[in-house]
């Protein structure tokens, strides 16, 4: 259910820097001209068109690019090609770099942070701004909270001019930049609202040596519940950085996160799925995944869930926990038995079904040689024991 911080399928669709910048540019945010490249040749051509020194930046959705060597300066097109050669193919936190952004190198006088986020605690959109922009912004938030301005937006009438002024004065912008800053913040706000974003941030927003504002880096995270009305944004999703198993799960309507343990979990409901994982751990095991099969536990989805779980060679046992509630337990049991019969690889399965006709369900499961359990704690213990006997 709902917005899980660790369920990217539910609630967040992160866009790459260059995609985020394309969107912001459409709303009047000053973004340096840049081009993407997928090989050194393209990087050289791009640098030649841009002219002058450039920066070559890995396009990955994970943080810490700079420290991992994914952002490098180049004085000439040949150097840009050499830097692109180094960066493309680089592994950054397990993600292979396939695309780089080649952009003019800015001469930076000041770095600011400017972001808009949906704040669930405050129940509104909130502007976050700081004159201490850059990669250390989170550290600043901890050590010097006064350096960060949090300004809630009015939920019904949105960004107001006095708020724009307040942020500009808080950042201590030179008077001649305030007008441009207003356009930037209004553009960021419009992009946030019209894209149905959960987050739109510019970090850093820089003042260059020549006294211009530029959005040097940007990140937009979309609300996937709203993608139905933004078909043009859906195509900007970068699937290459997602686990193939997680993409397959999403296509089957299953909420799935791969983990490193040996006990596959199949549960209906996100909260109960997390609880099942917690109890596996409490019983001395390690969950292999988070999997929320959704409502109803229909036979085709159960079959898809089995395939996704067993695709992971680490899985030694599967724990199925379905709180049927109104759903008939015997139907779910039949679905599980049928789906299991078509599987290539067999591992021990512990099944716990609660709901209408749970007794009949247990009989069906036992007849099919599945391990049943009365309680969730019992199911977790049996799954851990079954996985142990396989290893």
């Amino acid at each position: 259910m709902g917005d899980h911080p660790f369920c990217p399928q539910e609630g967040e669709v992160k866009l790459q820097e260059y995609r985020s910048k394309e969107i912001l540019a459409r709303y009047g945010v000053p973004v340096p001209d840049g081009e993407t490249a997928t090989n050194p040749h393209e990087a050289r051509e791009a640098a030649g068109r841009i002219g002058g020194p450039v920066v070559v930046k890995a396009q990955v959705l994970v943080g810490g690019r700079g420290k991992a060597g994914g952002v490098k300066l180049a004085a000439t097109p040949d150097e840009a090609a050499a830097r692109a050669e180094e960066i493309i193919g680089l592994q950054i936190k397990g993600v292979t770099v396939r695309t780089v952004l080649v952009a003019p190198a800015a001469r930076i006088a000041r770095e600011y942070y400017l972001g808009l986020i949906l704040d669930r605690g405050g129940q509104t959109g909130t502007i976050i701004a700081s004159a201490e922009g850059g990669v250390e912004i989170e550290e600043t938030a901890k050590t010097d909270p006064e350096a960060i301005l949090r300004l809630p937006l009015h939920p019904l009438i949105g960004l107001q001019e006095h708020q724009v002024r307040r942020v500009a004065f808080f950042l201590g912008l030179p008077a001649e930049l305030r007008k441009d800053f207003g356009a930037t913040l209004r553009g960021l706000y419009a992009a946030f609202m019209e894209s149905d974003a959960d987050l739109a941030e510019i970090n850093p927003l820089v003042m260059t040596d020549e006294g211009r504002l530029e959005a040097l880096d940007a990140k937009i995270v979309l609300d996937d519940s709203a993608l139905f009305r933004h078909p043009e944004l859906e195509s900007l999703r970068d699937l290459r950085e997602e686990e193939p198993s997680e993409i397959a799960a999403r296509e089957a309507g299953i909420n799935f996160i791969k983990l490193d343990g040996s006990i596959g979990c199949m549960v209906n409901g996100a909260g109960l799925a997390m609880t099942t994982m917690d109890l596996v751990k409490l019983a001395g095991g390690e969950p292999a995944n988070f999997l929320d099969i959704g409502g109803g536990a229909k036979a085709d989805r159960v079959a898809a869930a089995f395939r996704i779980i067993l695709d992971d060679p680490n899985v030694q046992a599967i724990l199925i926990n379905i709180f049927g509630g109104i759903t008939r337990g015997d139907e779910v049991a039949h679905g599980i038995v049928e789906a299991r019969a078509s599987l290539g690889r067999q591992v021990p399965m512990v099944v716990r079904i609660v709901g209408t006709n749970a007794t009949e369900a247990a009989e069906i499961l036992r007849a099919a040689n599945l391990i049943t359990a009365e309680s969730l704690d019992d199911a977790a213990r049996k799954a851990v024991a079954a996985a142990g006997s396989q290893a």
Binding site: D119, A270, G271
Partner: protein
């Protein structure tokens, strides 16, 4: 007493002729909930759920003719914001929205408009509210309950059923169980429900079921320490969840250190709340606190 809904509630169901709406309306009627009207635009004049519930084209018509005083919403996500506003405009003081997948920015507007109108919104993306022996509004299975002295509030769906079942199996009954929903923007928070349960004379103890993400549980802990004089037991799901794939720097700045299961458990324990490691421990924690 109990809270929010009861035998006196005159319920209207928006989207009653849809598959989900009809299925769950039937279950609500079986539980004993008084469903006085259904609304599906274009199907006014028909009767839904085996001819037991009159259907109206608009909520305003339904309210005028039946005196409905609560609405339960099953309409698809793209139309649910409008359905909530329609219920509020028709003067319904309590709106319970089951629909999941509503865009957050739509909810932002609806939430604040309904609040300005003095309407109590539960959800969206919630299982609903059941007052045991009074009324079931939403999709919480009716037969997992047992009447008793414990009020429950939860951000989750099936996990709520799990905890309620564990309580019922152990002979610990409930007054009202409220699912507030797991979306970023919800109409009613833990604190709102804690306040109601704390003031409800029938409720002697409270169960809070939370999960990782956001800082609602931390705020609730703070409220328990300051205001709640009844015993509270809690369970937080997600201790083994991998560290979040966070939302940029702003997410970290907004949340501070809050959001992890450990942060929530510690905040609740510091507030005197009894925190369970498993849903099955909840009944024993309530017994320890003196619940009969």
């Amino acid at each position: 007493m109990s809270i929010l809904v009861g035998a006196q509630t005159r319920l209207l169901v928006q989207g009653i002729t849809g598959r989900e709406g009809e299925f769950h309306s039937r279950a609500m009627l079986e539980y004993g909930t008084q469903i006085v009207a259904g609304v599906t635009p274009g199907k006014g004049g028909q009767a839904a759920v085996d001819g037991r519930v009159p259907v109206f084209d608009t909520v305003a018509d339904a309210v005028a003719q039946t005196g409905a005083d609560a609405a339960c919403i099953f309409v698809p996500a793209a139309f649910a914001p409008d359905a909530m506003l329609e219920a509020a405009d028709a003067g319904i003081p309590l709106v319970i929205c089951i629909t999941e997948g509503i865009p957050a920015l739509d909810m932002l507007r609806v939430h604040h408009v309904l609040r300005a109108q003095g309407v109590r919104l539960i959800g969206p993306n919630c299982p609903g509210v059941t007052t045991v022996g009074g009324a079931k509004v939403g999709i919480i299975p009716g037969d997992i309950h047992r009447a008793g002295p414990v009020g429950l509030v939860s951000r989750s769906g099936t996990l709520t059923y799990e905890v309620v079942q564990a309580m019922t199996d152990a002979g610990v009954g409930q007054t009202t169980c409220v699912g507030i929903g797991g979306d970023p923007i919800v109409g009613t928070t833990f604190i709102d429900v804690l306040q109601m349960l704390n003031a409800d004379p029938k409720t002697e103890a409270i169960v809070l079921i939370g999960e990782i993400g956001g800082d609602e549980e931390e705020r609730a802990a703070d409220y328990c320490a300051r205001e709640v004089r009844k015993p509270v037991a809690a369970f937080i799901a997600g201790r083994t969840a991998p560290p979040g794939r966070r939302m940029g720097h702003a997410g970290a700045i907004i949340s501070g250190g809050a959001g992890t299961a450990e942060s929530k458990r510690q905040a609740l324990q510091a507030a005197g709340v009894r925190v369970a490691d498993s849903p099955s421990q909840i009944p024993a924690l309530l017994r320890d606190a003196g619940v009969r």
